[in-house]
Symmetry: C2
Subunit: 74 residues, 2 copies
């Protein structure tokens, strides 16, 4: 069995800390609000460009925002 991993992120938390809206983030990084919403809901694999944009916006490293962990591990 090959190891499956999930990409997870804590954008929801980071956004709450900053009190930013999804719309605001979307505008800053030039994507739609849908994209931000999908990202936050943690159920897909964004492009590296998008990950970099998010990291730049929050002034963090990609790995401080996104994790790649064994499926099932919470």
């Amino acid at each position: 069995m090959k190891k499956e991993r999930d990409i997870l992120n804590n954008i929801y938390i980071l956004r709450a800390e900053k009190r930013w809206t999804q719309k605001y983030i979307a505008e800053q990084i030039n994507v739609t609000r849908q994209t931000v919403h999908s990202l936050e809901s943690n159920k897909y694999n964004p492009s590296l460009k998008l990950a970099f944009e998010i990291a730049l916006l929050f002034n963090k490293k990609i790995e401080e925002i996104f994790t790649y962990e064994n499926k099932g591990d919470s």
Copy 2:
């Protein structure tokens, strides 16, 4: 003018250091050799998952392998 950035990577160098083939890398991370080749030729925006897989394989941080820099800056 909105700032455009390029995603670049040094996989070619890292691979040379390890003396690995494109085929070998492709097999390790479950993509095709084409994908590895395209990646190395630095002209596109991979998925975050692929970036994580490469980083794991080389045991490095994503940002040690991929950079996101202003277009034109070499």
